[in-house]
């Protein structure tokens, strides 16, 4: 008897929040349209200096040309692989060093001041040094991403390993795990939330580092394109590159969000 009624009951309350969410989404999109139209009108009528701001349709044109000519793909690839190698190396090295510092307390205490100094230092200060040593090229770009990303990873792993609850270590020891196994079965999983938070920070920070690095020392790549088009006052192209860079960063941040949620699904 009550069976046919249930879907209706279940469907009703859920309809309201999704309706209001759709409403908010619509207002957001409408606001975007208003801003774009106002910008377009102001730009075309020279109400704002086109050198500085250009206008949406001009930017869109350039963005489209880059997409179909393959210029976007080529530069995305150049930036992408240096970024990826730098971030992966930093995550691996930083996690191992940080976990080791947390697990072997004496080692951690010895290394700690160096890590603190290195992380306090504005690492962009090392760009000229790296460029001087390694020249303009992949090695410099990868190393710049690496030094930018590695410190938050080290710190997170260090804190993560240090905070491993003694109770869990005791429990594992009682049930016969030796000190070598303890690292794998307790310390690593207990530090995982911290490691993931570190990777999340690293993913965003790495994007900033590679773009800034390419401003100074690269012959192609997203950052280099932004710098060159700005110097040549190719304003619409510059904004198109900024737009693509932002989209890539957005995808990375959202990806990191999903990764974090997936990896932490037991909490």
């Amino acid at each position: 008897m009550s069976m046919p009624e249930e879907p209706a009951l279940a469907g009703d309350p859920s309809a309201k929040p999704s309706d209001s969410r759709r409403g908010t989404r619509l207002v957001s999109i409408a606001l975007l349209v208003v801003i774009l139209v106002a910008w377009e009108v102001a730009g075309r009528n020279k109400l704002i200096n086109p050198f500085f701001l250009s206008w949406p349709s001009a930017i869109g044109d350039e963005a489209w040309k880059m997409l179909i000519s393959g210029e976007l793909a080529a530069n995305l690839w150049i930036t992408g692989y240096a970024y990826l190698i730098g971030v992966v190396l930093a995550c691996a090295f930083g996690s191992i060093l940080g976990l080791a510092m947390g697990w072997w307390r004496t080692f951690g205490a010895i290394i700690d001041p160096y890590v603190v100094f290195f992380s306090a230092m504005p690492r962009v200060a090392l760009f000229p040094v790296l460029l001087m040593i390694f020249g303009i090229g992949d090695v410099s770009r990868i190393l710049i991403v690496f030094i930018g990303v590695v410190t938050p990873i080290i710190f997170n792993a260090y804190v993560g390993a240090k905070q491993t609850p003694q109770l869990l270590v005791d429990a594992a020891r009682v049930f016969g795990y030796g000190s070598r196994q303890l690292f794998r079965v307790v310390v690593l999983p207990a530090a995982l939330p911290y490691l993931i938070a570190g990777v999340r920070t690293g993913v965003t920070l790495g994007m900033i580092m590679i773009v800034v690095a390419e401003f100074f020392g690269a012959s192609s790549g997203l950052g280099q394109k932004i710098a060159v088009t700005a110097q040549l006052y190719q304003t619409p192209q510059m904004y198109a590159w900024v737009l693509y860079t932002s989209l890539v960063a957005l995808v990375l941040v959202r990806g990191a969000d999903y990764f974090e949620r997936w990896a932490m699904r037991w909490t």
């Binding site: 109770l167 869990l168 005791d170 429990a171 594992a172 020891r173 009682v174 049930f175 016969g176 795990y177 030796g178 196994q181 079965v185 307790v186 999983p189 207990a190 995982l192 037991w266 909490t267």
Partner: protein, 252 residues
């Protein structure tokens, strides 16, 4: 000797204010299948004694023998139930129970069979794939109990196992634990500050002084098993309770 022999164990901790003696020449023995409860004030060194027996700490002097073999470090013939459960939050109920069996040399099928059997014994069938966070405190401790039971230890060490669960759950779980250990004829050493719990569960109750812990009295609990919780209101039970209370008070 099949059981546990504890002989004049001493332990002190070094602090910034000098050495702090926590255990002072504790000796007792316990036969196979016997349930012994240690009762004493909080911070009296009871837990330290249990940690020594588990192999987590070393005594300053004295000797420990289980079934004739000296106890040095943790071993699979002993298992422990922790006050704050000590479950791995990233593992499911089943994985947590298997966790206790992992270092042993059992086959995968044997581990799984033992884990499932232990989970059934603590009435957690159907919750195998839950993570600890999704369970109540009482259920989490049932996982802790299942993990210890699955090992089939010669000696089961319990450190205030019900101190972190609510009063109603505590009574139910005490009865459950009593039934399980009676069925399995397990040797149990349980530390508590709850006199009633000690008398309800124990064949013997060891009354400890406050720090440093000394053995004040070894009380035999002459109540036949299985016990139901109505036993708590009997005059014999209340008399024993009063006696233990007096010993503890006289020591304060």
């Amino acid at each position: 000797m099949d059981g546990l022999d504890v002989e004049s164990i001493c332990k002190s901790f070094r602090t910034s204010h000098g050495t702090l003696p926590v255990i002072d020449r504790i000796s007792f023995s316990q036969s196979q299948g016997e349930v012994v409860c240690i009762v004493g004030a909080s911070g009296s060194g009871k837990t330290t004694l249990l940690r020594i027996l588990a192999g987590l700490e070393k005594p300053d002097s004295g000797s420990l023998r289980l079934a004739g073999h000296p106890v040095e470090g943790p071993g699979p013939e002993r298992a422990m139930i922790f006050q704050q459960f000590g479950l791995m939050p990233w593992l499911t109920v089943l994985e947590n129970v298997l966790f206790g069996l992992a270092p042993g040399g059992l086959s995968e099928e044997e581990k799984l069979a033992r884990a499932r059997d232990a989970i059934e014994r603590v009435h957690l069938g159907g919750f195998e794939n839950y993570h600890p966070k999704a369970l109540s405190g009482g259920m989490q401790q049932r996982v802790g109990i299942a993990r210890a039971l699955a090992v089939r230890p010669r000696l089961l060490l319990c450190d205030e196992p019900f101190a972190a669960v609510d009063a109603i759950t505590r009574q139910l779980m005490q009865t459950d634990l009593l039934n399980i250990v009676t069925q399995q004829k397990s040797t149990v050493l349980l530390v508590t500050h709850d006199i009633e719990e000690a008398l309800f569960l124990g064949d013997r109750v060891l009354v400890f002084s406050s720090r440093p812990a000394r053995l004040l009295r070894d009380v035999k609990v002459d109540i036949p098993k299985p016990r139901s919780h109505e036993v708590r209101v009997t005059p014999e039970f209340q008399a024993m309770r009063g006696m233990v209370w007096d010993i503890l008070q006289a020591n304060q």
